[in-house]
Symmetry: C2
Subunit: 162 residues, 2 copies
């Protein structure tokens, strides 16, 4: 990630366009496909910290999504440009708290956010296991840089009627 302390915007990890098979009968992108796009951004994050597909197979390691919290803020039509920015809100030896924000690629409006809890796993178990030192070092560098970013207002929310 190209964030530096003091920079106000998290880095862009993924760009796409709303595909025909992602829209409902009203021509708007459906809920599940927001999650698909956020998943592609999460894959880009894994590449960034050195946990790309090749590493995961060789090392018998993977990262599981334990939980996600999605806020749907605005609709987008077929063909619309999507940009996903990603901020690490924290990490420990086995887990990462990652926050994606999806914006319209033309006018920049915030369309949706996704907050994720990710768990590092030894796939031979499968069981939770600490990150390798070189992965942990990359994560710690990102956590430190992103601590300077504003905290998203959607982070840490729970679903409540009142």
């Amino acid at each position: 990630m190209n964030s530096r302390p003091g920079k106000e915007t998290p880095p862009i990890l993924y760009r796409d366009r709303v595909r025909a098979e992602w829209v409902d009968y009203n021509g708007h992108m459906s809920e599940a496909y927001y999650v698909l796009v956020f998943g592609y951004a999460t894959d880009a994050f894994y590449d960034l910290i050195g946990m790309d597909d090749g590493y995961r197979r060789r090392a018998a390691r993977s990262v599981y999504t334990l939980e996600s919290h999605i806020s749907y803020l605005m609709e987008i039509d077929e063909g619309g440009e999507l940009v996903v920015r990603s901020q690490v809100l924290g990490a420990d030896r086995k887990r990462v708290r990652l926050f994606h924000s999806m914006h319209h690629g033309e006018h920049g409006d915030l369309l949706a956010t996704s907050e994720l809890m990710l768990l590092h796993v030894d796939t031979t178990g499968p069981r939770a296991t600490p990150f390798a030192p070189e992965i942990q070092a990359r994560l710690d560098t990102i956590v430190e840089a992103h601590a300077e970013l504003p905290r998203p207002s959607q982070a840490g929310r729970s679903i409540q009627l009142n």
Copy 2:
């Protein structure tokens, strides 16, 4: 919904089988498709309260998902049977708090849960608007019946490292 007070299990609103296009290279259902399946269960809930597709078009009303919180608990392979049970945790004049639990259709294991905040909308605005009286009456009946069910342990969660 066929829940009656004292009945311990929320009703089944949706059944399916994991389709080939829903699985990743490991043969497990991908995150976005859990959300797709939960979306089908939400559609079944709309039918149940009388807000089916025909009503929504005629009345120029719709229901938007504002937020969802998903807990991924267990993997399921291509071809596996899915059953979704649905519990209404609360409602007011414009909103419903809905909780889905996805189980394996054969051995019953809990695979994932999704908690949703849904907003009733006048699509001519679009703007939030109260439910029609007959819809509100159906909702209130379900809320009352489901108040007797155990509260799911995943309800009301937020994403936190500690």
